[in-house]
């Protein structure tokens, strides 16, 4: 083995076209051209050595974490590209097999670290479906409130990083400012800005604190005018439109064949949103619109995410009206630890508390798949229980992992500068891609 072979990435590496094997070529073309109604012929003309393989990342400010994109360039034009992932792989699915169901959310919350509550939610929903327990209404409404706020903070962060990627650096400051307001509220409720471990099997960790309603209303008062500022700053701005319109176009058929969900799918005009199409929690009791685009380009995705913040605000206002009083977690002694004050009085409560936090609770044997609409698309959890207190196997279907497969197709034939816009418009969170 020569030293150059040892330094290579092996099968993960993108080779120059002249040295690319047929199968590898098929993989690339296949992701697009196997769609029945599209033409079969691939541009198989192998060019000479005037192309160049360029690595973008893994450490590049616009690749949103440790994503590496290998691109074959002819001048400024991207001929082919290949995302190389795995740099952030920490074996969370393996780790989760050694944690009880109550400890599970601490693990999964670190996957999509921009929208951690959604990971906790999907893990908890899967566990509850296996347990077959009914969650009290207040707990469900609290979950919805927190998730919609989290969706807003995630979209704000995307607005920030997307602006930064395309040179609108002031947008980065604004986006982070708005997100920080939401994270302050999260800190007040859960104790942490990120990785909350707030939504747990059986309900939520603690009830909402005093004055939470005023805090939320204050946020809802600030955001509309801030969003109008974004419109002034970006939406109508010619430079912004030039950079994003017509960049990274996808069609509905391509999205469905590639399993792409979320704003990418909606930007092509298909109003597929699990909150409407497969309602979970109480989303069938609130009124909101699913935002769709018409061109399937980066600008549509920007506009969709911007307006999804407005829709989320609409949902949050309805949640404020509908929030009932009652329990914030299920009063099932099997799942829920006893109240703190009971531990000082009752030996049984102390034992019960100790058992739940050391051994955990047993979950009946079975397997389920639960999906929720995260800010990036369908976030799924496939969970297998063998009847013990730890999941036998759980698998998270990360929307970023799947959506990233669209990248070679979006970049093909575009410019290098547009590659940044395309990567950004996918909104990949590498913690979720690599898990």
């Amino acid at each position: 083995m020569s030293s150059s072979t040892e330094l290579s990435e092996g099968a993960q590496e993108l080779q120059p076209k002249s040295r690319t094997a047929g199968l590898e070529y098929l993989r690339e073309a296949g992701s697009v051209l196997r769609i029945p109604h599209l033409p079969e012929d691939v541009d198989e003309v192998r060019t000479d050595d005037d192309t160049m393989i360029v690595n973008m990342g893994p450490q590049h400010p616009s690749t949103h974490g440790v994503l590496r994109v290998m691109m074959e360039l002819q001048g400024e034009t991207v001929l082919r590209s290949k995302p190389v992932i795995g740099y952030l792989h920490t074996g969370m699915e393996k780790t989760g097999e050694d944690l009880t169901y109550l400890q599970g959310p601490t693990n999964v919350t670190r996957m999509d670290y921009v929208a951690p509550l959604f990971n906790e939610l999907v893990f908890s929903l899967a566990t509850e479906k296996l347990l077959d327990v009914e969650i009290p209404p207040r707990a469900t409404w609290i979950r919805m409130l927190m998730c919609e706020l989290n969706r807003m903070s995630s979209q704000f962060l995307w607005m920030a990083t997307n602006g930064m990627d395309l040179g609108a650096v002031s947008m980065m400051i604004y986006g982070f400012r708005e997100r920080e307001g939401i994270l302050d509220f999260f800190e007040k409720v859960t104790g942490l800005r990120m990785n909350h471990n707030y939504i747990r099997p059986g309900g939520v960790a603690v009830d909402l604190p005093d004055g939470w309603r005023d805090d939320v209303l204050r946020l809802l008062d600030i955001f509309p005018e801030r969003l109008d500022e974004y419109d002034t700053l970006l939406t109508g701005q010619p430079i912004w439109q030039e950079r994003t319109q017509g960049v990274g176009i996808l069609t509905t058929e391509e999205c469905l064949a590639l399993g792409i969900t979320g704003p990418l799918l909606r930007s092509t005009g298909l109003p597929w949103d699990l909150r409407k199409d497969d309602p979970y929690l109480y989303y069938d009791q609130v009124d909101f619109d699913v935002i769709v685009g018409s061109y399937g380009d980066s600008f549509d995705r920007y506009a969709i995410r911007l307006n999804e913040i407005r829709e989320s605000m609409k949902i949050v206002r309805q949640i404020l009206d509908k929030m009932p009083s009652g329990d914030y977690r299920v009063q099932d002694k099997k799942v829920t630890p006893p109240p703190r004050h009971r531990i000082d009085e009752s030996m049984e409560a102390l034992i019960h508390h100790f058992k739940i936090f050391t051994e955990g609770f047993r979950v009946p044997e079975g397997e389920v798949y639960v999906a929720v609409e995260s800010p990036r698309g369908e976030l799924g959890c496939y969970m297998v229980s063998d009847g013990s207190a730890k999941p036998y196997r759980f698998h998270i279907r990360g929307p970023s992992f799947v959506n990233l497969q669209a990248l070679p197709h979006m970049l093909r034939g575009g410019m290098v500068a547009d590659a940044v816009a395309s990567i950004s418009s996918i909104d990949p969170i590498m913690g979720e891609v690599d898990r």
Binding site: Q12, D278, Q405, R435
Partner: protein, 170 residues
């Protein structure tokens, strides 16, 4: 979406395209032997299940006596495919049995291009070989990694962290 109309209760297995089906917590599951897997996914594709939402594997080494409807032969590995029909708003789950002695199963890449990365991940984590996959290689683990981490006989913390170019431990 979980409970389509006209399905028998949980204790009566029905046939869907010749494969035994069951309900798991109200979710429709089709059990498939490895040889029928490709045809089954193809028939479901024609039925409108055009989107493959998820494909993953499970290693049942420590849980071989799991609940399966009668007539399904349990093997060590399972490939689990979650399919979605956006028109009918229905989901269906295919559980294909893969014997541990011969870890191969046909790839469904030609029907669902999205499984390109998912099958690579399943190969990476379980060592299940998807025949017909255009570029089956490791996707999350380093290329020179030995073993398949999500198998149940792959011990946690058993192997030191390996990275290319790092000097040997001693």
């Amino acid at each position: 979406m979980d409970e389509p109309d006209g399905l028998p209760p949980e204790d009566e297995p029905a046939l869907i395209h010749g494969a035994i089906s069951s309900l798991s917590r109200g979710q429709l599951v089709v059990h498939s032997a490895r040889d029928d897997y490709l045809d089954l996914v193809g028939s479901l594709y024609d039925d409108g299940y055009r989107v493959c939402m998820d494909l993953t594997g499970v290693d049942y080494l420590m849980h071989m006596e799991r609940q399966l409807p009668p007539g399904v032969r349990a093997e060590r590995f399972e490939v689990v495919v979650n399919l979605l029909s956006t028109e009918a708003r229905r989901r269906i789950r295919v559980r294909a049995q893969v014997p541990g002695a011969d870890l191969t199963i046909p790839s469904i890449f030609h029907l669902h291009p999205t499984t390109e990365a998912m099958e690579r991940e399943t190969y990476d984590m379980f060592g299940i070989v998807f025949t017909g996959h255009p570029d089956l290689s490791r996707i999350l683990m380093p290329d020179d990694w030995e073993g398949h981490p999500l198998r149940k006989d792959f011990g946690v913390g058993r192997i030191p962290v390996q990275f290319k170019g790092a000097p040997p431990a001693r």
